[in-house]
Symmetry: C2
């Protein structure tokens, strides 16, 4: 990162500064890209990104924390590249992320996203699907029209990533339809890597490509982002069960009540202990009022919480190892480290 | 085209030969691309292309007439390029076409495609959406991994085309929700150009790019494909009303019964004659048994058929003009001309 936004040692402030810098760098390119869409596709995209209300009047914008664009720009800067050269790639990654959100919300029937009604609830399923399709195309167009020597390799990598995201979302929805005993820990980990880790890894890899890094370093950056993404998912799942609702903004135990096969739950189910058997029995039938405490305790006693926290720590340590392979200088790697710690910090 | 498949003058046999040649050239690349998809996405794509039955057993394959790949390869050949160099681009265009079919079938709730149940009826909406998303990504990956000097310009053009296809599909579904008097002829023509003409034009343009044609010729090829596509849509709409069901395979008057705002209908509604008023009254309420003949006559008396046929002839003449701009040698242009005549031939 530029000296003024990522100076010296890693601290909590640094990640926030990087994210603000990334949002400010990428938003103009993102906005220009969205504005180039024809009428209806533009309107839905503007709504989704929070730049317009449902009635088409301007809004302040609320396009999320810009973690993926920040990873692109920070990885580029850490390897000696210019941020300005990677802005289109960062915008492309953000468009891909948001295209998958639009489609996932349709499939999952989720009604709220970033504290607003999801696009399909406002514009209907068909238009939300079409706007997502157009946003995937727009992401690829940004790279295809980018004259940077890395843009074509980045396009190939981003396209492969989209295929992986699709398979991850498929695995997620398919798993929810299966019984709790039928899902293995390896399957859930593979799903989380495809659904969450792949695009974080791809963002880091694109940053590397735009800095002219060699293939080995680009792959190490990809692995760094994937491992950090898995750590994030593990911590997110832990928070979904044991987090403080006043801090998470989610009702307590919502994932358990919905019988979600989150990572701690699947680990607990696989433990082979009496607590695991009790959890399997609870998960075998729909949630009944008042059972939440018993379910939480069963996951905990079957070791789900400890496993997830150890696994998250292990993934973060693997992430650090991959990062040091790609960027041996700790000062240069500081920004990426700060971002990885930021996404998993909510565990504290 | 190669001498052995496109010799001498334009005739009915020529287009069939070109289409068979295109199918045979593109299928191995297409099949390889689909086989590279992960498990579930691959299975849905294999089913959609007719290479597998719903239970995963092999099928003979029935991936349509390969008009778009044929346009890519024929345009390349006509401008002195090598077919073999444009095969990945032809496969990419075919993947884009099929991704839109997968998604359109979900949105339109169409249950039959190429005489088989549509993918969403077999695998569910979510998986059909995801497989479409993966196929769009795969198309872009083929171009991004293609070392041909035109591949990146082709990727940008194809991505822009996808945005246009999305807007066209949106306009189509939005129009169906409006009253018959609220839709103008310009709107329906613009919708047909975006939904049908754009990808045919893009296929021709990509062929030009892969032959190293200059921008002006590439744009003329695009315009040729668009105009031919509009002619095709006009003729297709005429057949939807006056075609012989035993030859079209569709029940007589299905579009009128469904109150579709096809081009001849909208032209008839705009005529301002007593027959137009009668048609507007018929279209203002759901179809009632026995009204088909009266509706057909109203469209005809209001001039819908004549207008559509004249308009189709005009579009074909514009297509020929654009073609002669890009490829002045009639012999070299013969293959593209044969394909354009083939797609509109069903009118006879």
């Amino acid at each position: 990162m530029d000296r003024q936004v990522a100076p010296g040692p890693v601290d909590g402030q640094e990640a926030t500064g990087i994210l603000e810098y990334a949002r400010a760098s990428v938003d103009p390119a993102l906005r220009r890209a969205v504005d180039s869409l024809p009428g209806s596709m533009r309107r839905i995209a503007l709504y989704h990104f929070g730049w317009e209300h449902a009635d088409g009047t301007p809004a302040a914008g609320n396009a999320g924390k810009a973690i993926r664009p920040a990873l692109v720009l920070t990885a580029t800067g850490a390897l000696g590249g210019q941020h300005a050269a990677a802005v289109q790639a960062a915008a492309a990654v953000e468009l891909i992320h948001n295209f998958t959100l639009l489609h996932d919300d349709v499939m999952d029937r989720d009604t709220t996203r970033r504290h607003r009604p999801t696009a399909w609830t406002v514009f209907g399923d068909a238009d939300a699907i079409l706007a997502g399709d157009a946003m995937q195309a727009l992401a690829q167009r940004l790279l295809a029209e980018d004259s940077h020597p890395a843009s074509q390799a980045a396009a190939a990598r981003l396209a492969s990533c989209v295929v992986e995201l699709c398979e991850g979302q498929h695995a997620d929805t398919a798993m929810e339809k299966r019984g709790p005993a039928e899902v293995t820990l390896d399957e859930v980990l593979a799903m989380a890597e495809a659904k969450t880790g792949a695009l974080l890894g791809c963002a880091c890899a694109l940053g590397g490509l735009y800095a002219g890094a060699d293939e080995e370093d680009v792959d190490a950056l990809d692995a760094f982002g994937r491992e950090a993404g898995l750590a994030f998912q593990l911590i997110d799942d832990v928070i979904g069960i044991w987090g403080d609702p006043s801090r998470t903004g989610k009702p307590a135990g919502a994932d358990l009540i919905a019988r979600k096969k989150s990572l701690p739950v699947v680990a607990a189910l696989a433990a082979g202990t009496p607590a695991a058997t009790e959890l399997a029995e609870l998960y075998g039938v729909p949630y009944e009022e008042g059972e939440l405490e018993r379910t939480v305790l069963a996951v905990e006693r079957a070791g789900g919480r400890d496993w997830a926290q150890l696994q998250a720590a292990d993934r973060m340590s693997r992430a650090m190892h991959e990062l040091s392979r790609a960027i041996p200088d700790p000062e240069a790697a500081g920004g990426l480290l700060a971002l990885a710690e930021f996404v998993t910090r909510r565990s504290n």
